[in-house]
Chain length 302, copies 2
């Protein structure tokens, strides 16, 4: 594909041989894989091929960002229904390559297979940032944060299901923010399944309980326009936000806000880590637990 361009020198063997060969300068390597399947993670009509390629890159970059790392090289396996125009595949690759280039990451290989529906499976390799941040380091007393705003994707899915037009939001690029947060975060995760569910992974991996204040959740504009409870549900349980959520020691709160200002990305304090059985509780202003059903993208999936 022409849009691949000329690979940098550290790609010793690029696409077109049995395997790519990469020079490795670091002592460790991040590896993640994520797939987009037509009708499950997206609908063809909702995204242009380029936007789809960008999304396929960014959902993987989000996982590398959540470890505090930098994307480096990717392989892309496409499943393509018979009769798919080449222009669609070229558009997907072009969108992917363009999004990857923003981080100096390179598409080094791929695979093309027939399949019943369009599916894009990406494996992304990354290099660690200043520190590798897992889900397992949250400690009682830490502050819980989330980047950006939540619920835009889930609100768009809901609007389109209701027959209304709604721009389908792009996956935000949080790689630089994740790398900066790696200097202070005790635990981090990307919000792909919904904030509460993903913070649940942090709680379990860290062996702590997490309390989230409902009125602190940064709602996407589309959620703020909905009835309060509905907007909140989409924001905390909708999924596919690809923002970063995590924890920082209480003494690093000022540093958290400095990073937010420096990189122009809101980092909102939304709760706290406490000792206790691993669980996440969403609390209203008076401290009562709120219960929300799963929402948003989940409907596409089941």
């Amino acid at each position: 594909v022409r849009s691949l361009g000329r690979p940098p020198a550290w790609v010793r063997v690029g696409p077109g041989d049995d395997a790519a060969v990469l020079a490795v300068a670091d002592r460790s390597l991040l590896v993640t894989t994520d797939a987009l399947v037509d009708g499950v993670h997206f609908r063809r009509g909702w995204l242009s091929p380029r936007a789809l390629g960008e999304r396929a890159y960014r959902v993987n970059a989000s996982d590398v960002a959540a470890m505090g790392g930098w994307p480096r090289a990717a392989v892309m396996a496409l499943e393509v229904p018979r009769g798919t125009p080449t222009a669609i595949l070229d558009g997907i690759v072009a969108g992917f390559v363009r999004a990857a280039r923003a981080h100096g990451a390179v598409l080094v290989g791929g695979n093309l297979a027939r399949g019943p529906r369009l599916a894009i499976t990406v494996t992304l390799l990354g290099r660690p940032g200043r520190r590798i941040v897992t889900r397992g380091g949250a400690r009682p007393g830490d502050v819980v944060f989330v980047t950006g705003a939540l619920g835009a994707g889930a609100a768009a899915v809901r609007a389109r299901r209701g027959g209304r037009t709604a721009a389908f939001p792009a996956v935000p690029d949080r790689v630089a923010v994740g790398a900066a947060l790696a200097g202070i975060a005790s635990a981090m995760i990307d919000v792909s399944d919904g904030l509460l569910q993903d913070l649940g992974h942090v709680a379990r991996a860290s062996g702590v309980a997490i309390r989230v204040a409902a009125d602190r959740i940064p709602l996407a504009a589309a959620c703020r326009r909905l009835p309060r409870r509905e907007g909140l549900t989409l924001a905390v349980a909708g999924g596919e936000d690809y923002e970063l959520a995590g924890t920082v020691p209480r003494g690093r709160r000022a540093a958290l806000q400095r990073i937010a200002r420096r990189l122009g990305c809101p980092c909102t304090e939304i709760g706290e880590v406490v000792a206790g059985r691993p669980a996440v509780r969403l609390l209203d202003a008076s401290g009562r637990a709120l219960h929300v059903a799963r929402a948003g993208f989940d409907h596409l999936r089941r």
Copy 2:
């Protein structure tokens, strides 16, 4: 999944976080990706879940072997139709992990998505062997070789299409052979699309012509039982053999046969590299060109 077992120390963060973290001891890294899609690359009834998992590993290991490398770590993305029993997924993972363990390779991550049909996309990372062998090093005067025997898979597909039962052959494990051949081969590829087509990739990458002697092709037993021309066609154009084909300088022919004996894997000389426009010609005993149609697995694909 229980069958993952305890990862070795060089897997710093294993499955269950946003990305796996691997310690890297070598200065370069091999990366390859390959997918198996139900109805395209296999049929559910033809393979047990464990055999399918083994196959998903071995088709990727074959690409690493063709570079002369050793598999090291893998991620597996599964697309799974609604209602698929968990036992099938466990079987696939168990078969994969067992086959990987034979090389000390480890499954370090994965992704599970709903999809219309079962599909297994694997990305395999490998470490280079003594030399990295690409497709581009064949030189006029070199001898062309192929490991094992060809056509078993294509013959089984053909038999089953004709309503006969036929054992579906496992993908051979050629990793140790590939690593040994890396010491002497000028070019190497794995035979996935059919011998002639794959040697065509070598011819183009190397800028040479390749002549293959039809009566030297090592036919799988199932092909020897067929009418001569039919068996030959399946062997040279059937695909999915996952044997290694390549070229060695003429002075390394004895070394080629020493490797074959030492590792108990036939390495048959089947032709020669000559100067000329990149192309592969299949010649009969009297030197006339034979033309064969594509065969075997290709029917599943289009």
